[in-house]
C-alpha cells in the first residue's frame, strides 16, 4: 500500500465514529430489559433515600405516643387496632415513629454500607490481586495461598467478634465487611492479570522502558476494570445482606439509627399485630437485592458477550 493510499484510508477512518467497548456495552445493557428496569427502580430508591428528610414531615426518631403501632390508612384489615392517619404512609412502629422515614433511613445505611464496603474490598482486592498476578512465581504462590487460607475461615464470625470487642462501632462494621469481601476480588484480578501479562502490548510497554508500577497502573488496571465492575455490582448486595444479618441479630447498627436488618427484626417481633412493620422494610430490601443482581447479570452479558 502506498503512502498516499494509507493517508487516505486514515482520513476516512477518522470520519467514521468508532464504537468503543463501553459504548457497545452500554447499548447491550440498555437492551436488557431486566437490567434497565432494575436501574430505574434502584435510581428511584436511591433518590428516595437521599431526599428522605424532605419527603416526610416526620423525623426518623420523632416519637408520637398517640399513634403507637398503627397501620397505614389504606391498609384495610379488620384486625388493625388503629390507623395512623396523617402522612404516616407506611404506618408507625411500636414507639410511634413514622415507618416510611425509617425505611428510607434504613435504605441510606444499607446503601452506604454497600458502597463503602465494596470500595474497601475493591481497593484491597485490586492492589493485592494485581501485584500477585504481575509478579507471578513464588510471590504469587505465597500470596494466593494466604487468600486460600482466609477463604476457608468463616468470616462473618470474625466480623461478629470485631463487633463484640469494639462495642458495635459502625464505621468499623463498614470496613470489616469490606475486608471480608476482597478475597474473591483479588482472585479475579489476579487471574485477569496473569493472562494479560502474556499479551503483546505489555511486552511492548516493557520494551519501551515503562516501569513495573507504571505498567500495572497504565495497562493492567484499566484492562481488568470490566470483570471488577461486574463483581462489584454483585458484591454490593452481598454486603447489604451481611450488614442486615448482623443488624438483625442486634450486632450491627445501634438505636436510634436504623437499617433494614433492624427494622425487619423489629417487624418480625410484632408480626401478628403489625405486619406492615415487616412487610415494608422486607419488600424494600428484597427489591434492592433483586435489582443489584439483575444489573450484575446484565453487566456480565454486556461486558463479556462471549460468555452467553
Amino acid at each position: 500500500m502506498t503512502h498516499a493510499a494509507t493517508a487516505d484510508l486514515m482520513q476516512r477512518a477518522q470520519g467514521v465514529k468508532g464504537r468503543s467497548l463501553w459504548v457497545d456495552a452500554s447499548r447491550r445493557l440498555v437492551r436488557n430489559k431486566a437490567a434497565l428496569v432494575s436501574m430505574i427502580v434502584l435510581g428511584i430508591i436511591t433518590l428516595l433515600a437521599i431526599f428522605a428528610p424532605l419527603l416526610s414531615p416526620y423525623a426518623y426518631d420523632y416519637q408520637d405516643y398517640s399513634v403507637v403501632s398503627c397501620g397505614p390508612d389504606w391498609w384495610h384489615d379488620p384486625s388493625i387496632v388503629c390507623h395512623a392517619g396523617g402522612s404516616h404512609w407506611f404506618g408507625t412502629d411500636s414507639l410511634g415513629r413514622d415507618l416510611f422515614v425509617r425505611v428510607l433511613y434504613g435504605a441510606r445505611v444499607s446503601m452506604a454500607v454497600g458502597l463503602v464496603a465494596s470500595i474497601v474490598s475493591l481497593m484491597i482486592g485490586v492492589v493485592y490481586g494485581a501485584t500477585a498476578g504481575f509478579f507471578g512465581g513464588r510471590i504469587d504462590e505465597l500470596m494466593m495461598r494466604f487468600v486460600d487460607i482466609l477463604y476457608s475461615l468463616p468470616f462473618i464470625f470474625f466480623v461478629i467478634i470485631l463487633m463484640v470487642i469494639s462495642n458495635n462501632n459502625f464505621i468499623l462494621l463498614f470496613v470489616a465487611i469490606g475486608a471480608v469481601q476482597w478475597l474473591t476480588m483479588a482472585r479475579i484480578v489476579r487471574g485477569q492479570t496473569l493472562s494479560l501479562k502474556q499479551t503483546e502490548f505489555i511486552e511492548a510497554a516493557r520494551a519501551s522502558g515503562v516501569g513495573t508500577f507504571g505498567i500495572i497502573r497504565r495497562h493492567i488496571v484499566p484492562n481488568v476494570v470490566g470483570p471488577v465492575i461486574i463483581y462489584m455490582t454483585l458484591s454490593i448486595p452481598a454486603v447489604i445482606l451481611a450488614e442486615s444479618f448482623l443488624s438483625f441479630l442486634g450486632l450491627g447498627i445501634q438505636p436510634p439509627y436504623t437499617s433494614w436488618g433492624v427494622l425487619i427484626a423489629e417487624g418480625s417481633d410484632v408480626l401478628e399485630i403489625a405486619p406492615w412493620m415487616l412487610v415494608f422494610p422486607a419488600a424494600f430490601m428484597a427489591i434492592t437485592l433483586f435489582c443489584f443482581n439483575f444489573i450484575g447479570d446484565g453487566l456480565r452479558d454486556a461486558l463479556d458477550p462471549k460468555d452467553r
Partner: protein, 315 residues
Amino acid sequence: MLSYAIRRVLGAIPTLLIIVTLAFFMMHLAPGGPFDSQRRLPPEIEKNIEAAYNLDKPVYQQYLIYVGRLMHGDFGPSIKNKDFTVSQLIGVGLPVSMRLGISAMLLAIVFGTTLGAVAALNQNRGGDFTVMAFAMAGITIPTFVTAPILALIFGVYGLHVFGADITLPVGGWDGGKLANMILPVTVLALPQIAIISRLMRGSMIEAMHSNYVRTARAKGLPSHLVIVRHALRAAMLPLVSYLGPATADIVTGSLVVEQIFGLPGIGRYFVLSALNRDYTLVMGVVIFYAAIIIALNLVADLLYRVLDPRVSFGK
C-alpha cells in the same frame, strides 16, 4: 489416596491454628476485663479470681494455656453463664443444631437436585424458567425475611386446605417434634435448595450434551435410564465440592433461624453470648464452628477424589 488424605488433614491444622490465634488475640484487644463490674471488688479477691483464670500471667502464656486446653476439647469456663463451661453449653446446644442442620442439608440435596434436573431437562422452557425464578428468589431473599413471613402464613394465619386446619407451631423445640421442625428446617434449606438447583442445572445440561450420554442413547437405552444411570450420576458429582460452603451457609443461617423460632441450639447461645459480651463463649463457639466447617470442607474434598474416577492420586 491415603497419602493425599494425610496431606490434606495436615494442611487443615495450620488453618485451624490461625483461627484460634486470631480469635484469641482479637478477644484480648477488647477493652475492659471479664470481671469488671459496677461494684469494685477488694483487690485481694480480684487477684485471686485473676489467678484462678490465669489472667495474671503474660498474654503469650495465657495463649499457650488456652491452646493446650483446646487440644483436650476444653474451651474454658463461660464468663457470663456462671457454673457452666463453654464445652457444656456447646454440648447442650449441639443435638438441636445438628438435627436442624442435617435435616436442612438432606432436604436441600433432595429438592435441589430434583429441581435442578427438572430445569435442565426442560432447558429454556416453562419448567426451567419457573425453577430458575424460584432459585433467584431463594438466593436473593435472606432467611431473616423468609422465616417471619413463613411463620406468619403457616403459623399465625394457618393453612386451611381440604377442610383441614393446619397450623404449625412458630416457636420452641418441644423435644424436637416433627411439627416444630418443619418451619425452621424449611427456612434453613430454602437458600441451599436454590443454590444447589442452579449448580445442578448447569452440570446436568453439560452432562446431557456429553459423548457418553449420546452413546447411551445410540445403543438404544430408554430415555429414563439414560437420565438416571448416566446423566444424573455424573451431574451430581460437582455438587460434592459444594458441601463445604453449604455447611458454612447453614451454620450462619442457623443463627437467624434459632433466634426467630426460639430453638435452644448453639446458634442461639452464640448470639446471646455476643450480645452479653461473654468473650470465652463467643471465642469457643467461633472455633467450634470453624472446626466443623473446615472438617466438612475436608470431607467434601476427599469424597470428590474418591467419587471422581478422572482424578488421579499421583505424586
